[in-house]
């Protein structure tokens, strides 16, 4: 029996040993898979925006910085070691080719950059990515093997 957990927008799910984490239709959002290969603890975060500047900080997983940090903390509470955790990311597309509007057009790109930066600051090794472009992605993450799969409309599935 394969256990599958859906990760919504601004959401995060954790699994240990086995199970698949999946997040649907990543557009400019970025999905971040974090994995401790020794204990097979895996997490998938679906972030929407680069930096948390909210006053009350109600939804930490909406943002790359607070989302990744909180996820790492939760993994550490389960016994994962930061030095072992590796990351794979997918998303950050530009859905519409909107002319002359930098702030909207670049949300995907800014998300990717913020994720890169936060991973670097947290000392997490980014081992693979499938980012940018103009197509939406559905991301599957197998916690047993650490393998990701990216599904794009009208395309063959890609390994991540």
């Amino acid at each position: 029996m394969m256990e599958r957990q859906n990760v919504g927008i601004s959401d995060m799910k954790l699994a240990r040993t086995k199970g698949t984490l999946v997040t649907y239709a990543l557009g400019s959002c970025v999905g971040i898979c974090l994995w401790d290969p020794l204990l097979k603890i895996g997490a998938l975060v679906h972030i929407m925006l680069p930096i948390n500047m909210e006053t009350n900080r109600t939804s930490q997983f909406k943002y790359a910085d607070s989302g990744i940090r909180l996820t790492i903390n939760k993994m550490e509470l389960m016994g994962a070691k930061r030095a072992r955790i590796v990351a794979k990311i997918a998303g950050g597309a530009k859905m519409f080719n909107v002319p002359g509007n930098s702030s909207l057009g670049n949300i995907g790109q800014r998300n990717i950059e913020s994720v890169h930066q936060v991973l670097r600051l947290e000392g997490i090794c980014l081992i693979k990515e499938d980012v940018g472009g103009s197509a939406a992605r559905t991301l599957f993450f197998d916690v047993a093997t650490g393998e990701g799969t990216v599904k794009i409309y009208g395309n063959v599935e890609r390994k991540l």
């Binding site: 919504g8 927008i9 400019s28 519409f96 909107v98 002319p99 509007n101 197509a135 409309y153």
Partner: protein, 207 residues
């Protein structure tokens, strides 16, 4: 002062926005009627204040493949309008306008895509003009852009743009009916919170 979050809207304000929506969408429906040569209506446009995941589900699910046409609004109101057409709606339009249908989005030629953008453009302009006349504010829609992809990713475009202000999004819109049959096509207005406050102020129900 005014609202800080979409979820602070009260019922009087929601009703008034629904009224604006119904005038906007009825103009859009009228222009669609003349394009298709059949009576098109939008019975009950709704104002929905939903969290991100609910919004995507209500509009038909994350992975549903749709054609999205987006236009950015600027001027005294900032926001986005999004028209979503499922394949059935595309075929209905293509059949009426060009006498053909497609089995899959990949069969769409450039001319057919432009025709669909134009339909989106007409719907969006009709809505925006009605809104603009009704509230006497200046709104300029941008040149519309098209994408054919998972609907969930297109709906997150306005969410990401205004997501810093709230975990909810306000969607004003509805589904078209042609000869009492539903056309799987939706027209949505997503204003930013500042513009929403301005709109409420113009309507005399701001805070």
């Amino acid at each position: 002062m005014g609202l800080n979050k979409f979820e602070e809207l009260n019922s009087v304000q929601i009703d008034a926005l629904g009224e604006i929506g119904s005038i906007g969408t009825s103009h859009a429906a009228t222009s669609l009627s003349s394009l298709l040569g059949s009576r098109v209506t939008i019975p009950l446009p709704e104002v929905k204040i939903l969290d991100f995941n609910k919004a995507v589900e209500e509009l038909g699910g994350f992975e549903t493949i749709s054609t999205g046409i987006i236009s950015l609004l600027s001027g005294q109101i900032n926001g986005m309008m999004l028209a979503l057409f499922e394949l059935e709606a595309i075929n209905l339009l293509l059949h009426r306008m060009m006498g053909k249908t497609v089995k899959d989005y990949s069969e769409l030629t450039e001319i057919e895509s432009s025709a669909i953008i134009e339909v989106g453009n007409i719907l969006i302009s009709a809505f925006v003009n009605a809104l603009s006349n009704l509230t006497d504010v200046k709104i300029t829609p941008s040149v519309p852009q098209i994408a054919i992809d998972m609907q969930g990713a297109m709906i997150t475009v306005p969410m990401a743009a205004y997501g810093n202000q709230s975990d909810y999004i306000m969607l004003l819109g509805g589904t078209f009916l042609m000869d009492d049959k539903e056309i799987p096509c939706k027209l949505l207005l997503a204003p930013d919170i500042k513009s929403l406050n301005y709109l409420l102020y113009r309507l005399g129900i701001g805070e």
